[in-house]
Amino acid sequence: MGKVIGIDLGTTNSVVAVMENGQPKVIINSEGMTTTPSVVAFTDSGERLVGMLAKRQSITNHENTIFSIKRLIGRKYDASEVLKARSLLPYKIVPADNNDAWVEVRGKKYSPQEISAMILQKLKKNS
């Protein structure tokens, strides 16, 4: 039987746990922590950083560091939550073709789902 895993894709941090002998066990990431910050950054050199590394460089690269992306998932660009997020978040939030709230980093548009997928990929790599 395949393993049962549980993922908490949080606004600030994400966690993965796996069922072992009927007990959930939290998987520790490559930095030795149980939680991984839900942060994705795109550096000057075009590198993509996810998790703790992205968080550590966030103030040097705030326009290209995406966090709290969960707030934008499934929201329209002109929704009140997005309006509030736009005033608080340092990265660029742009409308997609269907008026969904997307983000623009270094001239490229990403959907909140894509950013979340990058976080999930990192979690998957750890486990």
């Binding site: 550590r56 103030i59 040097t60």
Partner: protein, 187 residues
């Protein structure tokens, strides 16, 4: 119908009867053997179930024992590290006794003593796998080992260069446990 034919028929029906009798006997036999087989399978199943229970109980006991062992190990895992810390505390004690002795030490002597104690402490850390992350002013910021806490805007430094080290970072067995906290230049 001729008498010859009748005889033929008679003999045929007799043969048929014989075969049906044979069938009856072999049916009884096969039912017996099936009963036996079912009985055997029942026994085998009961045995397998019992084995399964035993294996499960064994695995359970094993898991409990491992958890207990682990707890016990954890309790004393720090022993060798703490033993090294005791020597460190001893040296501080000796230094303080000397200082309290009333003798006048020059500030240079005291500094030298501090440096020696610090060196010894760092040796203890490195012996246990904890090493300082080497970081020089002017190095390029690297999120793998540095954490940017503040920004600077200086012309005499390159973009993304470290202009100040705010707190030293450490690795434990090559894993960054505390990144070096730095101030980074942004032009």
């Amino acid at each position: 119908m001729s008498s010859e034919n009748r005889e033929d028929l008679y003999s045929e029906s007799n043969e048929l009867n014989e075969t049906s009798q044979d069938n009856g006997e072999s049916n009884n036999e096969s039912i017996d053997s099936k009963d036996q087989e079912i009985e055997n399978l029942r026994k085998a199943l009961a045995e397998a179930n019992e084995n399964l229970l035993r294996v499960k109980a064994d695995a359970d006991n094993f898991r409990k024992r491992i958890a207990k062992d682990f707890e016990e190990k954890l309790k004393y895992a720090n022993q060798s590290l703490l033993m090294d810390f005791i020597t460190f505390a001893d040296n501080i004690d000796i230094a303080l006794t000397h200082l309290r002795g009333g003798e006048d030490f020059s500030i240079d002597k005291i500094r030298e003593g501090f440096e020696l104690i610090l060196k010894q402490f760092k040796d203890i850390l490195s012996k246990h796998g904890m090493k300082e992350i080497c970081c020089e002013i002017g190095d390029q910021f690297d999120p793998n080992k540095h954490e940017a806490l503040m920004l600077d805007a200086r012309d005499d430094f390159e973009n993304n260069a470290i202009t100040m080290v705010l707190q030293k970072g450490y690795t434990l067995n090559d894993r960054v446990v505390r990144p070096t906290k730095v101030k980074v230049n942004k032009k």
